[in-house]
Symmetry: C2
Subunit: 305 residues, 2 copies
């Protein structure tokens, strides 16, 4: 009677979320035929279909949908189990996964990570670079560097320091287009903005500006491209003060002080006492605030003649 296969519920959960056997197979690390068969087997045991099949994927039947709540609860519990288990693995060997955005990855980590890796050769550091908030829940990462305080209650956040921001352009750009002195004038310039990232919009709103991403001259969420373009006389960029200055960019004073960018170090409650994770967190907390940015200045190959 205890014949129930938790594995099949797991498969079902992921299939339901992805809506496709192929994607679920990818996520689960098994093959699509395997999922197909397990799903059929589960449906056979339950006596009715969990999904409607089509050539565009699978969509939950009412029956399948009615079971999703329990599946999600099971998944959360399973994830918590994994976190708690891994949080108690106090060995100083193994992996630590760190999630950072492109700016940290490009301009800060290269300065400080080698020393850590030298000091802890048993530890393999895995770095996930993304501009979205990585899921510490799913243990996609153990530690995350974020520029905003996390909202989840079960995350522990440590405010490290604040990065001063400013608007910058190269001397060459300013020679060609002049130097704006008011916010209004600034917005008429070739200022680089974001694509889907809403952070700048929100920050501007707090300053009383009405700015939409659509208004920008050039739009990308990949900030190192902002920097590289500005360095090549491409326009005005709002970025880290120290970084811009180390690149020889000139600060533009439009009479408005940009708010500092806070830097938070986050991890999950369940793993905060883990030695490996603690080691890297403490090291980052020590070294990140002291680091001058600017190791790999130019990620994109270019020839400035």
């Amino acid at each position: 009677m205890n014949n129930t296969d938790w594995q099949q519920w797991h498969f079902f959960t992921v299939i339901a979320r992805t809506g496709s056997l192929n994607q679920a197979a990818d996520a689960l690390g098994v093959s699509q035929p395997t999922l197909s068969r397990h799903l059929q087997s589960l449906e056979a045991r339950l006596g009715q279909n969990l999904f409607d099949r089509s050539t565009r994927g699978l969509t939950l039947t009412a029956f399948g949908a009615s079971l999703m709540e329990g599946c999600q609860q099971m998944e959360q519990t399973a994830q918590a189990l994994e976190r708690r288990a891994s949080g108690q693995d106090q060995a100083l060997s193994g992996r630590v996964r760190l999630s950072v955005n492109e700016m940290i990855a490009q301009y800060y980590l290269p300065n400080i990570l080698p020393a850590f890796m030298d000091a802890n050769p048993q530890l393999s550091v895995e770095i996930e670079v993304t501009n979205r908030a990585s899921s510490l829940d799913k243990r996609d990462a153990d530690i995350a560097v974020r520029m905003f305080p996390p909202t989840q209650l079960d995350l522990i956040a440590r405010h490290l320091y604040d990065i001063p921001l400013g608007f910058y352009a190269s001397q060459g750009y300013l020679d060609r287009f002049g130097t704006p002195t008011t916010p209004e004038a600034l917005l008429e310039h070739r200022i680089m903005g974001y694509d889907r990232d809403k952070q700048f919009e929100l920050g501007a709103a707090q300053l009383g500006w009405t700015v939409r991403n659509e208004d920008f001259f050039l739009r990308t969420d990949y900030m190192p491209l902002h920097i590289a373009l500005a360095a090549q006389d491409g326009g005005i960029v709002g970025t880290h003060k120290e970084l811009a200055e180390s690149l020889g960019l000139i600060e533009i004073d439009v009479g408005v002080k940009l708010p500092d960018l806070p830097v938070y170090l986050c991890c999950h409650r369940d793993v905060v006492h883990n030695r490996r994770i603690r080691l890297l967190m403490d090291y980052l907390a020590d070294s990140l605030p002291q680091t001058k940015p600017g190791f790999l200045m130019h990620p994109l190959p270019h020839d400035r003649s």
Copy 2:
């Protein structure tokens, strides 16, 4: 990264509860070597041991114990999932599991079940006979007939009727030992009682009597044996009025009215709307109260010469 195998957590949960690979293998329907290997695999993945091994079985390490809470939660969710899924299987074929005590099984069901099975040949009725409250949680049974209201909130109970009780003995017994007329005198007689079942003790306490199971002349929880023995001049039995009378036993009036025995029909909230289960419940609710007891009078072979 989503490599986590829910199945192994299931195995771990059952192993932890049973404290033995062999028993867990039994409960899970797999072999002991399979469990041994999966457990080793899980421990290897987590990097530390979940159990201390000994020749007396496995005992949780502190690490393993710290994970049990999550496992139990997962198990409950899985069980709820199974119930909800099976509750929505509206086919009128398949199995329905019914849990009853020995009295119902012996003296009532034989009268009424054949008609139900004739009317619903597609349905296979499985009957678990136990005097303990069967677990509707684990879906050991879909429906349970109980003589006391269930305490769990997620069970639905339907009070069917009340069975009048009385003290009875055969004419032969009364001829030999006389007829008691007071409670005190009754307790001096060869009255049959229970072994581990505390219900009679509790009921007697409500009447103001102080009776312990140890005081009885003959002790067994198997009530049909009470009946059979009384019918063979073996002593006095407290049992169902109609049943005793149909056996030709004589009621003994000691000036105290025994409280009626309530009969409840129970099922889990999650499956109450299931057609199969509903069908049998409704049938039992209709037929049980009207049934005269006494189909198979003498379950034990005997020769009354």
